[in-house]
C-alpha cells in the first residue's frame, strides 16, 4: 500500500476520535470511572474522585490550602512579572497571552511561593499552577523558584516544591531554557548550605521542569497517575513510531524504574510532607 493511503486513514481516525462521549456526558463526570460528582464534595475530597481515586488537577492556591496549616501561608515575591525580551509574536503577542492568563487565573505567573507550616513544621512552599500558560517555565518561574531556595536556606527550613508544567516557555526563547541551569544552581546553593528539597511531581510534569528542579529533590514524590516524562507521549509516538506502553511516562512506571521515592495519594500528602519535615529537622 502507498504511504498516502495510510495517512488518510490516520487523519480520519484522529478527526473522529474526540467528539464521541465527552460532548453528551454530564459536565461533572469523572474522566476515569464515569461516576458523577458534586463540586463541593470533590473539593472537600481534595479533588480526588471518591469512587476511583482519580486525581483531578489542583490550582496553586487550592494546593496550598490543602497542604499548609490554616492561615500559616505568607506569600513571597508575588509582584514579579514576566518581561517580553524577544517581543515574541506567534498568532498573538506574548504580552497579550500573559495578560489574559493573569486575568483568567488571578496569578502573576505559573508559580506561587512563600513560607508556611505543615502540621506545625516550618517550610517554604513553591507551587506551580498548570492553568497559567500550561505551567510553562519562563524567567519568573525560574526566578521565584531560585528565590524560594534562597529563602529556605536563610530560614533554615526545607523547600517543598510542587511541579505541574508543560515545560519551558517558548515565548521567552533561549532565556526560558536558561531557567533550567538557573534553578539547578539555586538548588546546589541550597544543598551547600545544608538545606533540603522535597519535590512532588503532579500531573503533568514534563520537559524543562522535569529536566531541572523537579528531578533534583532530596526526596522525590509523585501523585498517582501523574505524567512525568521529558518528552510527551505524542512527541515520542510521532518520532519513534513505537507503540507506547499503556503507562508510558506515568508516575507508576517511573516508580518501577527507580525515578521516584514514592507515589503518594493527595489525601496522604500533608502527613507525608510533615513526616519528612520532622525527619530532616536538625536535632
Amino acid at each position: 500500500m502507498s504511504s498516502g493511503q495510510e495517512r488518510v486513514d490516520v487523519s480520519v481516525e484522529t478527526k473522529k476520535a474526540p467528539d464521541t462521549p465527552a460532548e453528551k456526558s454530564h459536565p461533572n463526570t469523572c474522566p476515569r470511572c464515569g461516576s458523577h460528582y458534586r463540586d463541593d464534595e470533590l473539593e472537600q475530597n481534595l479533588r480526588v474522585c471518591p469512587q476511583c481515586g482519580h486525581h483531578f488537577p489542583v490550582g496553586a492556591r487550592e494546593r496550598i490550602e490543602q497542604l499548609a496549616d490554616p492561615g500559616s501561608f505568607s506569600e513571597e515575591d508575588a509582584e514579579l512579572r514576566s518581561a517580553d525580551p524577544l517581543t515574541f509574536f506567534d498568532l498573538r503577542p506574548y504580552v497579550e497571552r500573559l495578560a489574559e492568563a493573569e486575568i483568567a487565573t488571578g496569578l502573576g505567573d505559573a508559580i506561587v511561593c512563600g513560607s508556611a507550616t505543615v502540621e506545625n513544621e516550618g517550610c517554604r512552599l513553591s507551587v506551580m499552577d498548570f492553568s497559567f500558560m500550561g505551567g510553562s517555565m519562563g524567567s519568573v518561574v525560574g526566578e521565584k523558584f531560585a528565590r524560594a531556595c534562597e529563602s529556605a536556606s536563610e530560614g533554615g527550613v526545607p523547600l517543598v516544591s510542587f511541579s505541574a508544567s508543560g515545560g519551558a516557555r517558548m515565548q521567552e526563547g533561549i532565556l526560558a531554557l536558561m531557567q533550567l541551569p538557573k534553578t539547578v544552581c539555586a538548588i546546589e546553593e541550597l544543598h551547600d548550605s545544608g538545606g533540603a528539597l522535597f519535590s512532588v511531581l503532579t500531573h503533568p510534569t514534563t520537559g524543562g521542569v522535569l529536566a531541572s528542579f523537579a528531578s533534583l529533590g532530596d526526596v522525590v514524590l509523585a501523585e498517582p497517575g501523574a505524567l512525568m516524562s521529558f518528552a510527551g507521549p505524542r512527541v515520542v509516538a510521532q518520532t519513534t513510531r513505537e507503540k507506547l506502553p499503556d503507562d508510558f511516562g506515568l508516575a507508576e512506571s517511573n516508580y518501577r524504574y527507580g525515578h521516584v521515592d514514592g507515589i503518594v495519594p493527595r489525601t496522604e500528602l500533608r502527613p507525608t510532607i510533615s513526616r519528612l519535615l520532622r525527619l530532616f529537622k536538625e536535632q
Partner: protein, 306 residues
C-alpha cells in the same frame, strides 16, 4: 541596535551582583566590532540551515584538528556506551583536558549508530562520569554541543531522561575545574544545556541555540510545522541574539560561507576561542570560579520592571 544599548547599560552599572564588569565590557566591545546589525529573518534562517548543514564539522572533526593524542573513553559504567556523546582525554596546547561532545553521523550507517546526535540518559551519565574524572585529576572540561535534542523515546524515558539532564547540569555546576562549552551546531533544548553549563560558553557564528526546534515551536504555536521560518524568526536562536541576551559569552567566527567550507580554518578559530577562554578562567581559585559560574546563571532571565 540592541547590543549597543546593552553595552551602554552595562557601562552605567558599577557591579552586577559582585561580578566585575570591566572584563565583560571589553569582551562585548570586541564582539560588537564583529557584528554589523541585528540579523534579519533571512539571516536567522540561514544560520538554522548552516547549523544543520550535512557537511558541517562535527565534534570529532574538531577533536582531530584541535586535540593531540585523543584517547576516547567509552561507556557510562552502568548500562551502555551511548555513541551520540563522545568523551575522552586529549592535549590542548600541552595541557590535558577532558572533552565531552555530541556526535552526529556523516552517512546513514553512522547517523544510525550516533542516533543523529540525540543522546539517551546513558549518554548524559557517560558525560557525568567523564566530568567526575576531570574533577578528580584537575583537568579542564571542554564540551561541544551539537544535538537536535535529547532522544524522545520509550526506553529513554524509562531510563530517566529528564533526571539525567538535570543531574548532568548539577554536575557541571559543582565542578571545581575550569569549564568551557562551545555550541558548534544545533544547541537543541535540554539535551544541549545538559552539557553546556560552563564558566565560558562560546558559540560559533552560524550555530543555533534554542529552547525548542523551529519545527516543534511552529507545530505548537502555529499548529503547522511548515511555519518553522516564522518560529525561528520569533524565538531568535542565532548567535548574535544569544550573545545579546547574555546566554553565551562570546561568538567564535567561522570562515566565509560557514564552517563546512573550510573545516581547518574553522577549527583554528574555535581552538583560539577555547584557549583564550581557558586562559581567562585558569587563574581563578576553584571556589571563586564556581561562585562566578553559579552567579552567571543565577541572574539569567528578564523580569518586568516593577
Amino acid at each position: 541596535m540592541r547590543l549597543r544599548q546593552r553595552l551602554s547599560k552595562l557601562a552605567g552599572m558599577k557591579l552586577l551582583r559582585g561580578t566585575k564588569l570591566s572584563g565583560e565590557l571589553d569582551r562585548l566591545q570586541d564582539q560588537l566590532d564583529r557584528l554589523q546589525a541585528e540579523p534579519s529573518e533571512e539571516e536567522i534562517w540561514r544560520s538554522v540551515e548552516l547549523a544543520r548543514h550535512q557537511e558541517r564539522p562535527y565534534t570529532l572533526d574538531y577533536v582531530e584538528r584541535i586535540l593531540d593524542d585523543f584517547f576516547e573513553l567509552h561507556g557510562d559504567r552502568g548500562r551502555a556506551d551511548d555513541q551520540a556523546i563522545v568523551t575522552g582525554l586529549g592535549k590542548l596546547g600541552g595541557q590535558t583536558i577532558v572533552l565531552i561532545g555530541h556526535q552526529k553521523g556523516r552517512d546513514l550507517k553512522e547517523r544510525t549508530k550516533r542516533n543523529f546526535g540525540m543522546a539517551y540518559p546513558e549518554g548524559y551519565r557517560k558525560a557525568m562520569r567523564a566530568m567526575a574524572l576531570a574533577d578528580r585529576h584537575g583537568f579542564p572540561v571542554v564540551t561541544m554541543v551539537d544535538t537536535p535534542g535529547a532522544y524522545p523515546g520509550v526506553a529513554a524515558e524509562q531510563h530517566g531522561q529528564g533526571g539525567a539532564i538535570a543531574r548532568s547540569q548539577a554536575a557541571m555546576v559543582r565542578l571545581s575545574v575550569p569549564t568551557v562549552a562551545c555550541v558548534i551546531g544545533e544547541g537543541g533544548s535540554g539535551g544541549a544545556v545538559a552539557i553546556a553549563v560552563a564558566d565560558r560558553v562560546l558559540m560559533q557564528e552560524h550555530a543555533i541555540y534554542s529552547v525548542i526546534s523551529p519545527e516543534g515551536c511552529a507545530a505548537i504555536l502555529w499548529r503547522d510545522a511548515g511555519e518553522a521560518h516564522k518560529a525561528a524568526a520569533a524565538f531568535k536562536p542565532d548567535a548574535a541574539h544569544c550573545l545579546e541576551l547574555g546566554v553565551v559569552d562570546a561568538i567564535v567566527p567561522e570562515p566565509e560561507g560557514g564552517a563546512h567550507t573550510d573545516p581547518d580554518a574553522a577549527a583554528q578559530l574555535l581552538e583560539r576561542g577555547i584557549v583564550e577562554a581557558l586562559q581567562e578562567i585558569a587563574s581563578l581559585e576553584p571556589d571563586e570560579r564556581r561562585r562566578r559560574r553559579r552567579e552567571k546563571y543565577r541572574v539569567m532571565g528578564v523580569l518586568s520592571p516593577a
